[in-house]
Subunit: 411 residues, 2 copies
Amino acid sequence: MTRSWVPGADGSGFGADHLPYGVFSVGGGAPRAGVRIGAYTLDLAAALGDDVFAAPTLNPFLARGRPAWAAARSRVIELLTDDARRAEAEPHLVPLDRVRTRLPIEVADYADFYCSLEHATNLGRILRPAEEPLKPNWRHLPVGYHGRAGTVVVSGTPVARPSGQRLPAPPARASSTGPTFAKRLPPGGPGPAPVYGPSVRLDIEAELGFVVGAPSRIGEPVAPGAFPDHVFGVALVNDWSARDIQAWEYVPLGPFGGKSFATSMAAWITPLDALEPARVPGPAQEPPPLPYLARAADWGLDLTLEVRLNGEVIARPPYDRMYWTPDQMLAQLTVTGASLRPGDLYASGTVSGPGPSECGSLIELTRNGAAPLRLTDGTTRAFLDDGDEITVTAATPGGLTLAEVRGMISP
Amino acid sequence: MTRSWVPGADGSGFGADHLPYGVFSVGGGAPRAGVRIGAYTLDLAAALGDDVFAAPTLNPFLARGRPAWAAARSRVIELLTDDARRAEAEPHLVPLDRVRTRLPIEVADYADFYCSLEHATNLGRILRPAEEPLKPNWRHLPVGYHGRAGTVVVSGTPVARPSGQRLPAPPARASSTGPTFAKRLPPGGPGPAPVYGPSVRLDIEAELGFVVGAPSRIGEPVAPGAFPDHVFGVALVNDWSARDIQAWEYVPLGPFGGKSFATSMAAWITPLDALEPARVPGPAQEPPPLPYLARAADWGLDLTLEVRLNGEVIARPPYDRMYWTPDQMLAQLTVTGASLRPGDLYASGTVSGPGPSECGSLIELTRNGAAPLRLTDGTTRAFLDDGDEITVTAATPGGLTLAEVRGMISP
C-alpha cells in the first residue's frame, strides 16, 4: 500500500492508491476539479497549477488522453505521499464536509448495457415468461441502448418519483381477469388500456459506469485492446427504473421515459490505474465472440457491490462475474463507427450474481414483488417507497472502495 | 407573401417568410450564425450586433427562449424587406456558394419517435410477421427511444457504410434452410450464428426533427400546450439505418449500433413562426389519448417530403398524416420528469403515408427488398449501394421549402 501523510487516508478506502477525481465547490465558489484523499479533496488547479482543473467539469482534462492522466496522477501521488511536499500541498486540501460535490462530467452520450447473464435471465423470465429468457443475440454481443444524458445527476441528488403511462394494475399484484382490466379496451387492440399516474413499481439498478476521456473519430471502431486509451475510469451508477412505465412503453424500441427521469452517478471517478490490482479475466464465453469483440487483456474487475436501502444492506452483487467486460462493451458501442466524445458514459447494466442476495435490482430481489424484502424495522418493500434512500458502494479485495452513489425518493 | 429586396429570394422557398437559422464559416474563419435568404446567408452577429450569434452553435441563442427568438426574427425581417435598410444589411449577406455550413446546434440529447401509423404497421409486418403489426401501446403513446447525439452530422457529410454483427444472410434473400444458416449454432440457442461484416441492407429514414431551445427543469413535465415555448423550429433528418444489424441487435432494448453510426440533419433550422401557415389539425386519434397527451393546439404540419436517390424522386411522404403530433412527442418525452436542454433534438420517426410511393424508407418502398426500385438509369435498388446519394426536401402548399438533408454513402 502507498502511504499518505494525509491524516486518516490510509486504510480509508480512499488512500494514495485510489485518488478518484471529482468536481466540487465551496460556498458560493465556482466548481473546480479535485482528487479525493481520505476525508479531503485536493484542489487540483491550485495544487498542480494547471487551469484545466479550474473548469466546471472534468471534460477538458479527460480530453487530453492517457499520457496526461498518468502524468497528473504521478504528480498527485507524489504530493500526497512525500512528507517533504506536505507543506506545499496541505493548504490545498479541503475537508469533504465543507464542499458540495457536483456532477463530475458533462455527460456527452449515455449508453447502458445488459452484461450480467443472471440479470438478463432473471428479467427475461419476469418480463417475458412465455419465452426463452435470453434472446438469441445475448451471448453474441453485449446488448445496449442509449439513455438520456441530460438527466444523469450526481450522487445525493433527490429523485422525484416519476409519473407516466402504465397498465392500471401491476401484473404481479392484480388478477388478470379483474374488472380494472376490462374497463376500457382499445379498438381492435389486445389487453387493457393504460392509465396515467405515479409509478408504483419504482426500482433501482446497481451498475458500474465507465467514463470515456479520449475521443475517437466517426467511422473508426475502437477495438477492445484500445479500451485503456479511451476510458479514463469508473463510477458507480444507479439507473433508476419505473418498472410499470417501462414494461408498457419498451416494445419495440426499448426503455425510454421509464428510465430517462434520472440516472445517478457517483461524485468521484476512480481512474483505471487505481483498479490495476482488481483486474481479473472475464468469465469464459461460449460461443467465443466474433474477433472484433475478442478480449485483448483482462478487464474483468474483482469488485463487490453493496446495495443499502435506508442503511440496511439488501444485496452484494459480484462484479467479477459480469459476462461481457467493459473493453467488449466499448467495442460494441463503436463497431458500426459511432464516435466517442470526452464525457461519454456507458454503464454495465444491473450487476447481478446467482445468489438470492446478489441481485442489483428490487425486481429480482423480490421476484417481481412476489417476495417483498423484510427490513429490520419491520416494514417490507416490493419496490421503493417515498423517502427511501438507496446507497450503492463497492470494494476491491485490496480495500479500495468506490465512491458511493446515493439517492432518496421524493414524492 | 413578404417581399424581400434580396435578389432571387422571393419565390425561392427561402424568402422573407421563411428565414431559417444555421451556422456557417467562410474560408478558415470561425463558425458563426446566419439566416438563410434565397442564395445568401445573413451574418447575424454583424447584422444585428449581438455576440450570441458569434458562437459556433445556435445553442446560446436557442437558450434565450421564444421572446428573444421572436425579436430576432422581427429585426431580420425588417432588415431584409425594408428597402431603406438595404444599404445597411447588404454588406452582411454572404453568397451560399462561398460558405461551408456546419452542424447548427450542439446536440444535447437526441430522441427518435415512431409516429407514422403506416410506417409502424409496415415495419411491424416486416420485422415480426407472425404478430400483430402494431404493439398494444402504439395508439396510446408516441413510442420513442434515445439515439446517439454525438453522431448527428450536418447535411452533406459523407456517411461510411457501417460494419457490425448480423445474421449471415438477409432473410429476404436467403433460404431459411440454406447451408450458411446451419454452419455454426450457438449452444442451446435457437437460430443461426451471426457474422461480422459491412451492412448489406443500408437504409434511410426520412424524418422531421424538432429542435429544442428553451430548457425545462428535471421533474417538471412539459405539457403539449407549452410546445412553442420550448421548441424553436424544425429540420429535416435522415436517420440512416443498417437494417441487418438492427434486426439482430434490437431485442429487447431497441436500436443501437444499427442506427448510431450517423444521423444527418439539415443545415438550416426553420423557426416554428415560419410554419404558421402550414399548421393543420393532427389526425383524429382513437382511443383519445390520456389527458397529459391531449392536444391544446394544431401542431400537425402540412408538409410534403420528397426523397431523391441520386437525384431521382423515389418517394413523396406526406407529413400531415402523422398520427402523433410534435407537441405530443414533447409531452411524452418529458412526462416522467426528463428535463430539456437547449440543443435537444427529437425526430418524428420515418414519415410514411398509405400510398406505395409515400414511404420514407427503402425497407418499405421495396417491401423488404422483395420489390427493388427500378431507377431511370436501368439499375435497381433494394437497399443503398456505395456512392448512392440521398436527398430529402420538403415543401408547404404555400411554397416554403425546408432545407435539404443530404448524404452520400462511402464504402
